[in-house]
Amino acid sequence: MDKKKSEKVKKKLKNSTVGIAGLGGLGSNAAISLARAGVGKFVLVDFDKVEEKNLDRQYYFLDQVGKLKVDATKDNIKKISTNVNVKTFNMKLIKGSMEKPFKDVDVVIEALDNAETKAAFIEEILTKLKDKPIVAASGVAGYGHSDRIVTKKLGNLCMCYDELAKSSDDDILMAPRVILMANWEANLVIEILLGEDK
């Protein structure tokens, strides 16, 4: 192992803050991956409670059913490292003020589910927090076709993108593909925080 690189990465991630909008299939899994990677600070935003039907793809467990997703994800992060600062907002993101919880984070992850909300959120971050990098995902439904997924970079917007996937309204959501995209988002966050891996 490259010890010098490892130390540098550890230090940088420890001092980084990642904001996550939505703690469903994308957000709950991305949070865990980033916590394992060593990200030191999180801002988590979600309005929902854990339901049994979420367990097919979201990072929760039977004994967490009924808990707020922000609290359940915070608990899960703390099971990986107690030395992580987690700020939670149990709230719905409302058009016009969606950027507010994310003002002080280094990178924002869009991990919402509804297409309209996803697009509105990206637009608000890009137009109101002009220097804020945002990582988003579109096209998570279905299974297979891993190699159709690409990264689209547009200035501060980085998208994990499958233009041929169907909407989840007309398809199914399954753990492998949703978690693949959640980790794709997490990997993009790491790249933004550390710069390109050379």
Binding site: G22, G24, G25, L26, G27, A111, L112, D113, N114, A115, E116, K118, A119, A120, I122, E123, L126, T127, A136, A137, S138, G139, V140, A141, K152, L154, G155, L157, M159, Y161, E163, A165, K166, S167, S168, D169, D171, L173, V178
Partner: protein
């Protein structure tokens, strides 16, 4: 007299708005992020934002799922 839309060369139409271009391209998916020459166009400006000749336009659609 052409513009680049998602890496396709498309004829430039004078005084065409973003909204009209999306219609012409038959981009009917529910919602999109539109950038003209690297600048994000807010949705409310789609009916008034005019596309300049030689522009590079990127249209990304968001679909549900997460």
């Amino acid at each position: 007299m052409s513009i680049d839309v998602n890496q396709k060369s498309v004829e430039w139409v004078e005084n065409e708005t973003v909204e009209q271009l999306l219609k012409r391209m038959k981009y009917t998916f529910p919602l999109v992020v539109v950038k003209i020459n690297d600048k994000v166009i807010p949705k409310k400006d789609f009916p008034v934002s005019i596309i300049p000749d030689n522009s590079k336009i990127v249209v990304l659609h968001m679909i549900s799922g997460g």
